[in-house]
Amino acid sequence: MRLLSVLVVVTATGVLPSALFAPAALAKPVGPRLACAHYPDAPMCRGAVVACTQCHTAPPELNSYGSDVFAALEAGNLVYEDDLGTALLNVEGDDSDGDGLTNLEEILLGTRPGDASSFFSAPAPPSGAPNPGFDVGTYDEAFAFRRLLIDYCGRSPTFEEREAFAAAIDQRALRHAALDACLTSSYWTGEGLPRLADKRIRPLQAINIDGVIPLADYGWDYRLFVHALTGDRDARDLLLATYHIDAAGLVVEGVITGDGDDQVGGQPALVDKRAGMITTQWFLMVHTMFSELPRTTAAQAYRAYLGQDIARSEGLLPVEGEPKDIDDKGVDDQETCIYCHATLDPLSYAFAHYNGIGDSGGIGAYNANRPSWQPSEVEAVLLDVPLGDTAAAGVTQWAQIAANSPQFRQNLASMFLTHALGRAPLPDELDDLQALAEGFDDVDDHRAVRLLHRLIDTNAFGVP
């Protein structure tokens, strides 16, 4: 309980930390949108807007590709906002970073044309006598069988299981049956999925010590994460759930009362103001803390569930007239701040109506009157969509837009494919990723389990 006193005794006047404050600016934050308008089907624009690092080492410094693009703009006396596409076209045949691939080749592959360390050459087809153990270069059923058991059951197949698999007439059917069993295993629900949740929940032992919960209980978060991604459930509940899962695994509707005035250990947010993982008591406590405008909270929601990390100059969709610096933190003062905050601050307004630490009504409770500004002074925006009256609706509209966005399904597909492969997909695996993401709505009906069944059939997963 001592930590609580540390956090509460001191007067809170600052915003929370974070990875949020902006990198230096070149004042061209429209660049990502323009680039993706020119290359809408390029991997860099799938379920995202291209990161600033496409043209910058880190803004405002240009990388070699960015330098060439700007040189092309100058050479052609072109106007950035109107003619960027022309400049991009003019440097397509160049190899700005000297890695042996033209800029256009890199854009189509999904590597970075201004980074010599980012390149790709497709592997040659295997040659030679037949391999006695692996179907190299083609989908290998046995290889995939072992991989799925390790990935989703947390163990290798036994000798007997391998023998039975080798003898099976329909190996694909056996693979999918094995996957079904794995996805209900204690490994997947107790270890595999929780480890995928770690960086999204960001637990801190010291704020949840040995069963003593001084501020909030992240156990609710882990359980909801696992629940939404297992069984015949809509994975969008990560952002849309209005319920919680108790320690017994049962769905709990309604407000969950916690201890004391702070409602510690409960889930005090009103049901109609809930948005799954991003309105839990833990999420709001650990990210909002004392911030009147909880930028860290919004940025983590954007990063964890839409795959857009503003700290890495990703997902920048600046809003005209922003940042307003509504909480007087000087983010409109420095050119370096404006660059990210024009996107970040509009993302954050909706979260200002939920308590962090020290607000009346309990940690994480919805509180329409929490911010000092009037609702009419700001306009919340996510992915270019205005969110309306966030004082009345909280972040529910934020979550609706997010859960049905290409970014959400891309992020989910990427999370699972990266986990399965133990690394990010390579350029020749991006089509698999794209197919997984695009099929999430219609083919999978938003079920993570169904997406995983498609995943284990991909070449990325099964070709040794």
């Binding site: 190299v136 270069g137 072992r146 290798s156 391998r162 480890r195 770690d198």
Partner: protein, 216 residues
């Protein structure tokens, strides 16, 4: 290229180890000077992977595989100083795990570290010793072919034990050549017989730490 890369970080400051066959010439290990001559590996006898995209089997799957293969309980596995779990604590990170709660490690390392092979050796040695101890003390589960009271291991018993270990630890039948290689563990470097207990630990350890046990 491999030889050059290895030599670039040679270690003249520390006494190099010369007693383990590394597969690269000793002078490369010792000198710390790049060997510019690289004949490259011999041509493979069959088509090999050109994608080469293996994944790293992380600590929990490693643990589960050892528990299943050797019919052990979790408590039987490696504990440093007899107290601190190798897999869950001491060697968690080099074995591919992460500790989000107390160390803020929200993601595991992407690839093995320089200490991963040692951590694997420790975990495998402990597990194998535990299995052998239990087989010696009670009804043998894994090493039924061995007579632990004998002074040496006969060839047939050794082959049976090795074959069983291959199936348990690798999930496959070892080739005759592999069985023969591992059967050399029935003797020491001087040709003297190794005790059945030691042979059991050594053969188990050698097979349990093959690279195919932690990559897939």
């Amino acid at each position: 290229m491999l030889v050059v890369a290895l030599a670039a970080a040679g270690c003249p400051e520390l006494s190099p180890a010369g007693d383990v066959d590394s597969g690269v010439p000793d002078d490369v290990i010792d000198s710390g000077v790049a060997d510019e001559v690289d004949a490259g590996p011999p041509p493979p006898p069959f088509a090999i992977s050109t994608r080469n995209r293996l994944a790293w089997k992380r600590q929990r799957a490693l643990e589960n595989d050892l528990l299943i293969a050797l019919a052990l309980e979790k408590a039987d596995l490696c504990n440093e100083l007899g107290l601190y779990s190798c897999i869950d604590f001491v060697h968690l990170v080099p074995l591919g795990g992460n500790e989000p709660f107390s160390r803020s490690q929200y993601e595991p390392l992407p690839s093995p570290t320089v200490t991963t092979p040692i951590a694997l050796d420790r975990v495998a040695l402990s597990a194998c010793r535990a299995r052998v101890d239990q087989d010696v003390a009670g009804v043998p589960v894994v090493f039924a072919s061995l007579d632990f009271d004998a002074a040496a291991v006969d060839a047939e018993a050794a082959a049976a034990a090795i074959d069983g270990l291959g199936k348990r630890l690798l999930g496959r039948a070892l080739t005759p050549g592999e069985v023969e290689e591992f059967a050399a563990l029935t003797i020491d470097d001087d040709g003297a017989a190794v005790s059945p207990r030691d042979f059991a630990v050594l053969s188990c350890f050698a097979i349990a730490t093959m690279s195919e046990t932690i990559f897939y």
